[in-house]
Symmetry: C2
Subunit: 141 residues, 2 copies
């Protein structure tokens, strides 16, 4: 059994984050030592690592909870996982596309922005005309 510091090292999850996951019911409560310290089994650490990897892939906690409940069941229904992964891929693609459009807009705006000290055409455009296209999806930024 491992203390929270070791569990953090081995899973790559910050100590404060581990306690946060426990508070929120994302991972099960670990055992405690006589002195009241958290004690993690290798299985508990594996769960933490799993959560970190899913977070690294950009999955929100709610989806990760679904994944965790699927791994608990014996028939890990792969169709469900595939569907969730594909939805997530769609979101990632949308974000990439949105950021690319943003990039183009910003490039156009700053193109005429030379290093002189005169009035800035970029700020002018933003104050007056805007930049052509409407709003982007802010959630990607």
């Amino acid at each position: 059994m491992f203390t929270i510091g070791k569990a953090s090292e081995q899973s790559g999850v910050n100590i404060e984050t581990i306690r946060y996951y426990e508070r929120e019911g994302i991972v099960p409560k670990p055992e405690r030592s006589a002195g009241g310290r958290r004690l993690y089994s290798t299985d508990g650490i594996a769960k933490l690592r799993f959560v970190r990897r899913c977070r690294d892939l950009g999955f929100p906690i709610s989806i990760i909870q679904t994944f965790l409940s699927l791994t608990e069941r014996d028939d890990r229904s792969c169709g469900e996982v595939k569907r969730l992964a594909e939805d997530h891929l769609d979101e990632i693609n949308a974000k990439i596309e949105n950021l690319s459009r943003l990039r183009e807009a910003l490039l156009n705006l700053s193109a005429n922005c030379d290093d002189g000290t005169a009035a800035c055409p970029m700020l002018d455009a933003l104050m007056n005309d805007g930049f052509g296209a409407g709003a982007f999806d802010r959630s990607n930024i």
Copy 2:
């Protein structure tokens, strides 16, 4: 002079967000009517629109405040704006690159994830091996 509802319509900034911007000192406090309602000039609305456009471009509020203080001065120092815009472009490019790597990782993981009902190779990989490369930058997700 316009009430907050009209100012919201014309600037594209949510009413609650306008009040939030005022509380945080991002835009100046507007005049008030006898009954205590906010009254916006066209200039005040232009500032709100400017903030929205900058937010749409992904600039954080702190940078937008710098922009606003630059537009107040007569010599709108374009060099400063250009530098901030280029830094922001770098960030956008980094986000696009990171999301692309994420996309590849997720594609690889879900590739073997067929629609059968057997144990899911994606969940297996995340529980055991992981997905090869280390952590991504989470701030992009």
